[in-house]
């Protein structure tokens, strides 16, 4: 029943999925940050192409990826609609006019650029979190990135309680119907249910914190680590490549004369 939630969503043997979680996270940041300095559609298009080529090396199943990417499609549609409605610059050739709105090639190019940027920036993050076990991430943050243990392990413990909130919310809704309150439309009922959920979540959080301290989490001794996370040469190579590739992409964009810096 719950197995599917905790099983890795792709073959964990894929060469890039196996990399150190901190290295993967760093690589995603290095790769995507340079993309936001330019407004042209060419840079994100090339970056997205590179990302799609790298995808098989992360071993993410397309069905899993599709499930996590679909919220982006909504964002993309929102961008398209708002650009068509509100874009200030309507340069380029007129394609068609919808009432008072002139839809021009310039408007569509800007919209395409934005949508490509959304995908190019979000995809690496999605792939990293899809191929990374939360426990491994917390271990690597502590061991390789010197994150505070109380933060990393505490967040991990809280993460484990999240699915309980969903169950709790459903039970609270049913209990309110049993008390004669039709749920759904009424914002006051929503607020009182949310409050009850919060009270329950706080109590559980306190109980968990006490149980963790009872097992010495607050002992102040230096913790040892049962599981090892190491930064290997392959991890460093991944970081290096992810720093160089976007530089290359930007150079290419400049060479093509498409570069439109965000400042200036």
């Amino acid at each position: 029943m719950t197995d599917q939630r905790t099983s890795p969503p792709g073959p964990a043997t894929a060469p890039l999925a196996r990399r150190n979680p901190v290295a993967k996270l760093g690589a995603a940041l290095l790769f995507t940050l340079p993309l936001v300095v330019t407004l042209d559609p060419v840079t994100p298009a090339i970056a997205l192409a590179v990302e799609l080529i790298a995808l098989p090396f992360f071993g993410v199943r397309p069905s899993v990826l599709a499930r996590r990417v679909w919220p982006l499609l909504i964002a993309a549609f929102g961008v398209l609609v708002s650009m068509v409605l509100f874009a200030a610059e309507r340069t380029g050739d007129l394609l068609f006019a919808a009432g008072p709105l002139d839809v021009t090639t310039g408007v569509l190019a800007s919209a395409t650029g934005l949508i490509l940027r959304i995908f190019a920036v979000a995809l690496p993050g999605i792939v990293v979190f899809t191929t990374t076990d939360p426990t491994d991430l917390a271990d690597a943050l502590v061991q390789n990135a010197r994150a505070p243990e109380r933060f990393a392990i505490g967040a991990l413990a809280a993460f484990r309680l999240l699915p309980l909130l969903g169950q709790e919310w459903r039970m609270l809704g049913l209990a309110r119907r049993a008390r004669g309150i039709d749920t759904g439309r009424n914002p006051a009922v929503f607020a009182s249910t949310a409050f009850a959920l919060l009270v329950g979540a706080l109590r559980r959080g306190v109980r968990l914190a006490v149980a963790m301290d009872a097992r010495g989490f607050d002992s102040g001794l230096p913790r040892t680590h049962a599981r090892v996370q190491r930064l290997t040469r392959a991890d460093l190579a991944l970081l290096g490549i992810c720093a160089l590739v976007p530089a290359g992409i930007l150079a290419l964009t400049i060479a093509l004369g498409q570069f439109r810096p965000i400042i200036g």
């Binding site: 991990l156 309680l161 049913l174 119907r177 049993a178 109980r207 097992r215 913790r223």
Partner: protein, 466 residues
């Protein structure tokens, strides 16, 4: 191996007027196994928290001394292990073995020693899976055994058990008791707080009764304590072994009209097709192992959930109960949830009772009359102004039953109504349900309390039996 010494110990939580425990003088020696008894609110859990070093100095006021091997408990934390009631809020990690390793990491145990100790601890509690088993996939009993392994792996000299089986069905509870017996050697000092005394007795050789007003009331071998104080303790709500729970409240008349009927009602993955009828003037007990779908059946009969297959119908209505308006539903079927707090929506006990009748637009005088009657009937008068979230377990249960009765439904559906209740509340509930049945109500109770079935049920339906 640990030695406990209390001298005039007392603790008052910050912001409270009353002392949670007071005037305790007690010595517990190496390897002794003690059952700590006392009525609800006697401060048993506070005492365990103090022994576990979990009462920070600034969280209240202390009196007297408490020492473990001559040390302040806050400095002796590495010698003490504590197991709480709810496994869900004790597990930290996503994988079982990692969770046992968590405490060892905190104590700075070298990595080479961690995994052999994890394996050993898992074996000693009879954990049936490999260490990479996701903790989210464990049943309540399995999760609690894992939590015990996490405590045992630290090799505590003093092991404290704070009602560790209260959330489990009888089979799961028995497994925990076996695991405790197996995993604790003669070198472990054991202090147990447990509602169901008979279940804890095989684990202990000494009983200490603490007085709600303060001090130790009785201390000695179990047989001697129960011979001398058994009746008194039972009166206060302690489940004294050997005393019958309550006389049977059998019905003296035939059940009358059918109120609700389920025909092959099913919910995918939660409840296999089940048929039954609920009749007025009858207490129907639904039993079955954990995971059989008992709670789901209660939701179906209570008109709170749509069946995935088959049908549920009743009260001569063409529409199924889950399609009724909420205010129609509360006049026909009242539901009492396993966790009373799920049902509370106001900040005062009296408002909680008035809510249902007010939503039916009853005149204020009538609402007041209903509230007063229920407060009296369920012994809640003194709590009329209290916040429902601050009630004790027994009080919260009585209030949740009262709220369901406030709209005068003909049928009552209860999910584990006697769960974790002391003997006194238990008897009150059984008597109340019998009286409601005699007044012509139909009562359905989902339960795995064998005493309840024996005492209160007119008819029993077992579901999901293997």
């Amino acid at each position: 191996m640990s030695d406990v010494q209390l001298r005039g110990f007392g603790w008052r939580h910050a912001g409270r007027r009353a002392w949670a425990v007071r005037g305790l003088d007690l010595r517990i020696r190496h390897g002794e196994r003690v059952l700590l008894l006392g009525p609800s609110g006697a401060g048993k859990s506070t005492l365990l928290a103090a022994l576990a070093g979990l009462l920070p100095e600034d969280s209240g006021e202390a009196e007297g001394t408490v020492e473990i091997d001559g040390l302040d408990p806050r400095k002796a934390r590495d010698r003490v292990g504590i197991l709480f009631q709810d496994p869900q809020t004790q597990l930290v990690m996503a994988r079982s073995g990692d969770d046992v390793a968590f405490g060892l990491e905190n104590r700075g145990v070298p990595r080479a020693e961690i995994w052999p100790r994890v394996t050993e601890a898992l074996a000693s509690v009879g954990f049936p899976y490999r260490p990479d088993r996701p903790t989210a996939a464990l049943s309540g009993g399995e999760a609690q055994r894992l939590a015990l392994a996490g405590v045992i792996a630290l090799r505590p000299g003093l092991l404290l058990l704070d009602e560790p089986t209260a959330n489990l069905d009888p089979a799961g509870a028995a497994l925990i008791r076996d695991a405790v017996a197996r995993a604790t050697g003669p070198d472990t000092t054991l202090i147990v707080v447990e509602h169901r005394v008979a279940d804890a007795l095989p684990l202990v050789d000494r009983v200490v009764v603490i007085h709600p007003g303060g001090g130790v009331r009785a201390d000695g071998p179990p047989e001697a304590i129960f011979a001398a104080h058994g009746d008194e303790l039972a009166e206060e709500g302690v489940w004294v072994p050997g005393l019958p729970a309550a006389p049977r409240t059998a019905s003296d008349q035939e059940p009358t009209a059918e109120l609700v009927r389920a025909e092959h009602a099913a919910v995918p993955d939660r409840l296999p097709a089940t048929s039954l009828s609920v009749r007025a003037g009858e207490v129907l007990a639904v039993t079955g192992p954990n995971g059989a779908g008992k709670s789901t059946l209660a939701l179906l009969l209570g008109g709170l959930l749509a069946p995935g297959g088959g049908r549920v119908s009743g009260f001569g209505d063409r529409r199924p109960p889950h399609r009724w308006r909420a205010r129609t539903l509360t006049q026909r079927i009242g539901s009492v949830f396993q966790n009373p707090e799920h049902q509370f929506v106001t900040g005062r006990v009296a408002d909680e009772l008035a809510l249902g009748p007010r939503r039916l637009r009853k005149p204020p005088a009538e609402v007041r009359q209903i509230v007063d009657e229920l407060l009296h009937r369920l012994r809640l008068e003194k709590l009329a102004g209290a916040n429902p979230y601050t009630l004790s377990g027994g009080e919260a249960r009585r209030l949740s039953v009262a709220t369901a009765l406030a709209t005068a439904p003909r049928m009552l559906v209860l999910d584990e109504p006697t769960f974790g209740q002391d003997r006194r509340t238990w008897r009150e509930l059984v008597t109340l349900l019998g009286a409601l049945r005699d007044e012509g109500h139909g009562v359905v109770a989902v339960t795995h309390d064998a005493d309840f079935v024996r005492t209160a049920a007119d008819r029993t339906l077992t579901i999901g039996a293997p």
